[in-house]
Amino acid sequence: MNPKTIATINFKGGVGKTTVTWCLGDVISSFSDAKVLLFDLDAQMSLTQAIALNEETGTLHDKFGKWYELATGRQKTIFHALDQFTRPDAHFDFAVGFDFIYQITDSLHFIPSVEDLYWTELEVFDREGVKEFIRRLLAKITNSPKLPKYDYVLFDCPPSFTLLSYSVLSCCDLVLIPVNPDFFASKGTNLILNSLKMRIEPFPIPRIGVFMNKTKTKGPPTKESTFYMREVSRVCEQAAKQQSIDTRFFDSWIPDRVGLKRAITTGGVPPDLVEPFKRLWSEAVAYLP
């Protein structure tokens, strides 16, 4: 059975895409029997560095560092996979195994990014030539006898519409859009909903779940946060009607906590934030096709 695929995206930077992707992966794999695969598709490597960086020394954790060096040396990175896929007349026989996928825990695995992805955007202009890449790569992973059967694949997408974003959005089951309770972050919702459809067509548009991240709270959300929740919910309803896309503003929200930013580097979601992420995940799963 194919895994369910969820892409976290927003063209506005700093809304918490990477943190949310990681926290969802951590909560799902820690509190259920599900096996999760994370992808870092951002050439800025935010998720990769957060997972890999030892804050005390400023260098990569030994275990990941050695693995990453080997993977890079053996040309077993996402860049090399994409490079092989986009070669003209080349057969895409990129082998996948644990030299390509890093095991964070038994049930949380990870495909890191590489800086070379920056150059891909400059050198490869053929959007149509890349659209099938993620779908084909996922098929290899799903069919590989060397790898476990993943239940969910979570993609941390860059804050712009890149070739890899297009490839993911063309095949994923659900798009999660975190927004923040401020004008500019909320304004981005309208932009992304209005542009996603025309960018992904003729592929079917995945379901889109929008939720409030970094919600300011005084116990419950503040009135200011509630104002933006209401406005973004309206934008979603409008987009659903005008663009005929399946969009929903989730009831679940994630509070703004200083400790959350350090969840990745400290190895887990803080205990008081597990429930908000469980609620968000429950709502996302219920919305999956």
Partner: protein, 156 residues
């Protein structure tokens, strides 16, 4: 009792100044004690001060309490203002706000999550107008350029 038993004006002034100084000392001591109690309470429950301040806020007792506008009514008024802006513009909304009493404006502002502080009609109206404008802008569709048909050539 003779005139010599009464304090002179300068003696009275001096006495009053001493009394003021003593009272100020007592007040300083009470303030220090209050701060100590607040610090201790904050350690027990970090949010108690904010909750206490919000309920004791003079504006909630003075300005908002006079309004019978409920939360849902306030949101309905807001939606109406947004529609007015879209259909008839900024001046129409200003005119509608001018007809509301200050307590109603305060309730509306609070429901929209804007800080009210010392409520002045001009200040609160300005903040509500800001929220109305935000709502209009948030729902306005951006003119997104569609992708060009076909694809560019692949780089050699």
């Amino acid at each position: 009792m003779t005139e010599r038993d009464f304090r002179t004006p300068s003696e009275e002034l001096e006495r009053l100044q001493e009394e003021i100084a003593e009272t100020k000392d007592v007040l300083r001591e009470m303030l220090a004690r209050l701060s100590q109690i607040e610090r201790h309470a904050s350690r027990l429950s970090p949010g108690w001060k904010r909750a206490a301040q919000s309920t004791n806020h003079p504006t909630s007792e003075i300005a908002g309490a006079d309004s019978s506008m409920s939360r849902s009514q306030a949101l309905q008024v807001f939606d109406g203002l947004v529609d007015s802006w879209r259909q008839r513009g900024y001046e129409a909304v200003q005119g509608q706000l001018a007809k509301l009493q200050l307590p109603e404006l305060v309730v509306l502002a609070r429901e929209l999550g804007v800080p009210v502080g010392k409520p002045s009609r001009k200040g609160v109206t300005h903040k509500i107008l800001g929220r109305v404008k935000e709502s209009v802008l948030l729902s306005r569709n951006v003119n997104v350029t569609p992708p060009s048909h076909g694809t560019a050539h692949k780089a050699d």
